[in-house]
């Protein structure tokens, strides 16, 4: 990396995340004065107001410009969604993990201007007042989390539209759609008109925003004495005057155009997963090729531009989260997850020369953000996979590997067209989506194991002593495993019903009160339908509930079936008593459960049958239920950091896990339970029909030694190819030994830059909670002598 990139990268690494009240102040000022009655237009005008008044920043040496706040890592708040209290700000400022500095000035602004206006007007308060007592009980017990209580629905990725056309063209589309409204027969005519008007305002606003950068760059160019920088600033001025209003003409403009769009999305609201350019190598390749052919670009130029682009992502931490949301997603990462490789829309190999340059960039930049992945198709060359494996071997968890052919199958199974499916990919952690055409909203994590605990306690939550589930009977009376499982399924349905009832209300609240007209311009077919992204405007509208703890559940139920009902080594009473006492005084029982019980992750059909059982039960309970946007619910299996939070509310479990310890993560086996190596894990994990999901997450830990040399790379590549032949969705690796992790835990100052794979993303090891650090250390380390 050259001097410019080195400097910008270091600046990004050194910048300390802090709360910027800029947006909150502008928004509040706008809302206090605005008298618009239509909500979409109000939202659009507030967006415009912010973009017209926020500070424009062009950092020294930058080629790709634009910051969400006034400086790198200045992080906005979104008081219309969740208004932080003084106490929240204090917590954000002082907490040990994932803090955001909050100045006295910011606190004062909040107490004087922001809090007084927004108290009682936030989405968060609105959501909680609409939830039933049952919902609140389940939420507080840790049965599920609620994604939308502090952040807006997002979970979407851009396709290639902004590289083919500009916002001037989108405005034309909007006007056409406005002209087509049938005011005589369409009862939605007024709503459509307001929504489309709002989109138009937003489209104009983003052009204004870019022009402000152009002007600023031109002014800076005038002042600049250094010739080289002067001409760069002039070029920036030209670029920003052209995009995103018009289709980009070169690679620089294409990257800058995306970056303005990205900023627009994350300034409009705080959607989950920020936003993402998706298939970057595919989108940028035509510009790269053209530049090379015309002699206006070299591979080195492309590399530098991409590196500058990378830094922009890293400058933008996820908006601050508090409470349960901070526990379920305790990271600065905002889940922009760049896809490489995969298939072209015609089904042919999607790897190109730029793919390899992007992999070099990932390798060299070694940044938390953006996240990156390769989409590996059977049609992609091994060289592509091996290049990725060489980066993975370095041990910082990127890129992750997705099965491109499987993603296509998953999307086809969901009823998408072949072309939309091939243009899709993975985003966030592991979620499958039709890029540019789908709202695929994660609605919350669901604690499969807590429901088991409630079942084993006949509806009672042993942590609080409160009855929050159904009275499905005392398990001591159950004569067979089937009886127990029937009881579990009743509890599962009961809590899924509660979660969905809540979801369906929350979805309407966002549709009604927090439309996103800017994001709606970007996702087909919102313009055509005259409908907001949050109201079903997208071509495809999918909701997800993410199951957590499937490994812990499997081992727990395998243990009950094996010891209580088959071998009769334990009575249900013995077992429940041992759990109640957290195995105190019954260590032998715990050892039996740990060591003399079939476990998931060992290619043992006995245990793996229980995996299929819970997977199918969860799938059948959730899949296909309607949401309020014309789409349906589906499942996926990923945890972010929620397996730690969910574990912290569950007592001892029949798999031998003690009170409050983390659950298994993703669809990985229980930490340490997989004792037969990675091939056995892969075989076990592939026993469920993953095509039915919208993504599963499998993490594996390797010692660096086993991946040494060319042979190490080959074997890793073979493992991946084999898992994908077995229709696995995703696999990712931590390549680090236990000793290093323990040393980092003991002396964090010496290991500040140590990055590890957590779940669907990587993070600084020292930024993780102690519980999560312990969990990662406990994962089975595959090695070989």
């Amino acid at each position: 990396m050259n001097e410019r990139v080195t400097k910008l990268r270091q600046q990004s690494l050194d910048a300390v995340p802090y709360i910027s009240t800029e947006r909150a102040e502008l928004l509040t000022r706008f809302y206090q004065e605005d008298k618009t009655t239509s909500l979409p237009v109000k939202r659009a005008l507030s967006f415009k107001y912010i973009l017209e008044h926020k500070e424009i920043v062009i950092n020294d040496g930058e080629l790709i410009v634009g910051e969400r706040g006034p400086a790198p890592k200045a992080t906005y708040t979104y008081p219309e969604v969740c208004c932080h209290t003084q106490q929240d700000l204090e917590i954000l400022d002082t907490r040990e993990k994932i803090p955001f500095k909050v100045s006295e000035e910011a606190k004062a602004v909040y107490s004087k201007e922001i809090e007084p206006y927004w108290k009682g007007r936030t989405m968060r308060e609105l959501i909680f007042t609409h939830m039933t007592e049952e919902w609140k009980d389940a939420y507080e017990a840790g049965i599920f989390t609620e994604f939308m209580e502090q952040r807006a629905p997002g979970h979407t990725v851009l396709d290639d539209k902004i590289y083919r056309r500009g916002f001037v063209d989108f405005i034309e589309d909007i006007e056409k759609s406005l002209a087509n409204i049938d005011y005589l027969h369409d009862p939605q005519a007024y709503n459509k008109q307001q929504e489309l008007q709002a989109m138009k305002i937003c489209a104009e606003a983003i052009i204004t925003f870019a022009n402000r950068h152009s002007q600023k760059a031109a002014e800076m160019a005038k002042q600049e004495s250094d010739c080289k920088r002067k001409s760069e600033l002039q070029k920036i001025a030209d670029v920003c005057a052209h995009v995103p209003a018009h289709a980009p003409r070169d690679l620089w403009e294409a990257l800058q155009s995306y970056w303005f769009v990205h900023l627009g999305v994350i300034i409009e609201l705080n959607p989950w997963d920020a936003f993402c350019p998706g298939r970057l190598d595919q989108h940028m390749y035509p510009f790269y090729k053209k530049g090379l052919e015309e002699g206006t670009l070299t591979a080195e130029d492309a590399r530098e531009l991409l590196q500058c682009f990378w830094i922009k992502f890293n400058n933008h931490p996820a908006p601050p989260k508090v409470g349960v949301t901070a526990a379920e997603s305790g990271t600065y990462t905002d889940f922009a997850n760049i896809n490489n490789g995969g298939l072209k829309p015609d089904g042919s190999d999607g790897v190109n020369d730029l793919t390899y340059i992007i992999l070099d960039v990932i390798d060299e930049m070694r940044l938390l953000q953006p996240s990156s992945n390769i989409q590996l198709s059977k049609k992609n060359p091994d060289a592509f996979l091996k290049r990725a494996c060489r980066i993975i071997r370095k041990g910082w968890g990127q890129p992750s590997i997705f099965n491109a052919d499987m993603i296509v199958k998953e999307l086809l199974n969901q009823g998408k067209t072949v072309e939309d499916a091939r243009n899709g990919g993975a985003s966030g952690c592991v979620e499958t989506g039709a890029f540019g055409k789908e709202a695929y909203i994660l609605t919350g994590y669901f604690n499969l194991v807590k429901v088991l605990e409630i079942t084993l306690n006949n509806g009672l939550d042993p942590r609080t002593g409160k009855i929050i589930g159904l009275r499905t009977g005392d398990p001591r009376e159950f004569k067979s495993f089937e009886e127990l499982f029937e009881a579990y399924k009743k509890q599962l349905k009961y809590f899924i019903d509660i979660k969905m009832r809540g979801n369906n209300i929350i979805e309407r609240l966002y549709a009604q009160y927090l439309p996103v007209p800017f994001l709606s311009i970007l996702i087909d077919d919102c313009i055509k339908k005259g409908k907001d992204y949050n109201d079903g405007g997208a071509r495809y509208n999918t909701n997800y509930i993410q199951g957590v703890g499937i490994g812990s559940w499997t081992d727990s139920m395998a243990a009950i079936s094996y010891h209580v009902f088959e071998q009769k080594t334990l009575t249900m009473d013995d077992l429940l008593e041992a759990l109640e006492k957290n195995f105190v005084g019954s260590e032998k029982v715990r050892q039996l459960l740990l060591n003399k019980t079939p476990k998931y992750g060992n290619d043992d059909d006995y245990a793996d049958e229980f995996l299929k059982l819970i997977y199918n039960a969860f799938y059948q309970e959730v899949n296909g239920r309607p949401n309020t946007k014309g789409g349906v619910y589906r499942i996926n299996l990923l945890p972010t950091t929620c397996h730690v939070y969910f574990g912290s509310v569950i007592g001892a479990t029949p798999d031998g896990r003690r009170n409050w310890e983390p659950l298994s993560e993703g669809m990985s086996p229980v930490q340490g339970a997989d004792r037969k190596g990675p091939t056995a894990v892969i075989k076990s994990a592939s026993k469920i029909d993953q095509v039915l999901t919208g993504g599963t997450l499998l993490n594996q830990k390797f010692t660096p030694k086993i991946l040494e040399g060319e042979e190490g790379i080959n074997n890793l590549a073979h493992l991946v190819r084999s898992y994908f032949k077995l229709d696995g969705h995703h696999i990712q690796f931590n390549v680090i030994d236990k000793e290093t992790l323990m040393a980092a835990q003991a002396e964090p100052d010496k290991y500040r830059d140590l990055i590890v794979r957590v779940a669907g993303y990587s993070d600084y090891f020292c930024d993780l909670s102690k519980a999560l650090q312990d969990e990662i250390i406990a994962r089975t380390e595959h090695q070989s002598f």
């Binding site: 290619d603 990675p678 091939t679 190490g712 074997n715 073979h718 190819r721 032949k725 077995l726």
Partner: protein, 301 residues
């Protein structure tokens, strides 16, 4: 049904032949190499291993042992190897897995069931199955049956052998084996006897015989500091190997301490208490020396 005794089946074995493999460890070995890192492979009968770090001191094994081989003195459990008949009753009641019976009698189909689980990985990587030990040739009928079953399933096979077996046995087995991993340790006969317990005459003769009729033989040379790393020994190994028809590759296996704990768990003395790992200079020099004989040398399995 042919049965045999094994002590482990290891998946994702990547150092015992090409690709991703499953290694089946047959129990029993005529050699007692000082550096053996699988001491549980030597005896042909089941043995008890005791992991004291896993023991939770419940005392169940004391009650269970029919021979009084386990006694309690103070906080520590004492184990009398003389009295133990390796009946395994203590291991059954030991929930923590501190007492483990090493070695189990299995049928060919039981082994094949495990082996076949990973066919998809063999196919992808050009891997297969390696029969190691102990000395797999000590159970020739069992081994032959396994090899034939693999051939029936088109699974690539490797046999990791010390070469210390009846020549006829080796020749018979060679008909069903795709690749031999053949150990050469020490060329001097007296030293060979000292450090492995047996003469190397048969081993060298067998290798010569084998090289005349089998085309895929990799030599495995364990580089043991102070024992096999003498330049003269290395040169003789190179010379001998190069003189044989069709042997192109030597794998230099590095000594590691991983086996030390196992001796303790087996209540056996570890003959190599005070030896350190080979430095990279010695390893490089050994590799270079072997290469001088026109051999392809690889560090590691």
């Amino acid at each position: 049904m042919t049965t045999g005794i094994i002590f482990n089946i290891m998946k994702y074995s990547v150092h015992d032949g090409p690709g991703i493999r499953t290694t089946v460890f047959l129990k029993g070995c005529p050699l007692t190499c000082w550096w053996c890192h699988n001491p549980e492979s030597q005896v042909k009968e089941p043995e008890l291993m005791f992991w004291d770090s896993k023991c939770i001191g419940c005392g169940d094994c004391l009650q269970e042992c029919p021979n009084g081989a386990i006694a309690c003195s103070g906080a520590k459990l004492q184990y009398d190897a003389q009295k133990c008949t390796a009946c395994g009753k203590c291991a059954v009641v030991c929930h923590s897995g501190a007492r483990e019976l090493v070695g189990r009698f299995v049928t060919v189909s039981e082994v094949m069931k495990e082996v076949e689980k990973d066919v998809i990985f063999y196919d992808q990587s050009g891997g297969g199955v390696t029969f190691s030990g102990g000395e797999p040739l000590m159970q020739p009928d069992f081994l032959k049956s396994l090899l034939m079953s693999c051939r029936g399933k088109y699974i690539h096979t490797a046999v990791d052998t010390s070469g210390y077996a009846r020549t006829e046995t080796l020749m018979e087995i060679s008909r069903y084996t795709d690749l031999f991993l053949y150990d050469l340790k020490i060329m001097d006969e007296d030293l060979h006897i000292k450090y492995t317990g047996v003469s190397n005459k048969l081993i060298l003769r067998n290798l010569k015989e084998l090289s005349l009729c089998h085309e895929a033989i990799n030599i495995r040379f364990p580089l043991i500091p102070g024992i096999t790393d003498d330049p003269d020994n290395i040169a003789k190994i190179g010379e001998y190997t190069a003189s044989l028809k069709g042997i192109s590759q030597v794998n230099v296996l590095l000594y590691h301490h991983m086996g030390a704990d196992k001796y303790y768990r087996l209540n056996k003395d570890y003959p190599l208490q005070d030896i350190s790992k080979s430095g990279s200079i010695i390893i490089e020099a050994a590799a270079q020396k072997l290469e001088e004989y026109g051999l392809k040398v690889r560090i590691g399995g």
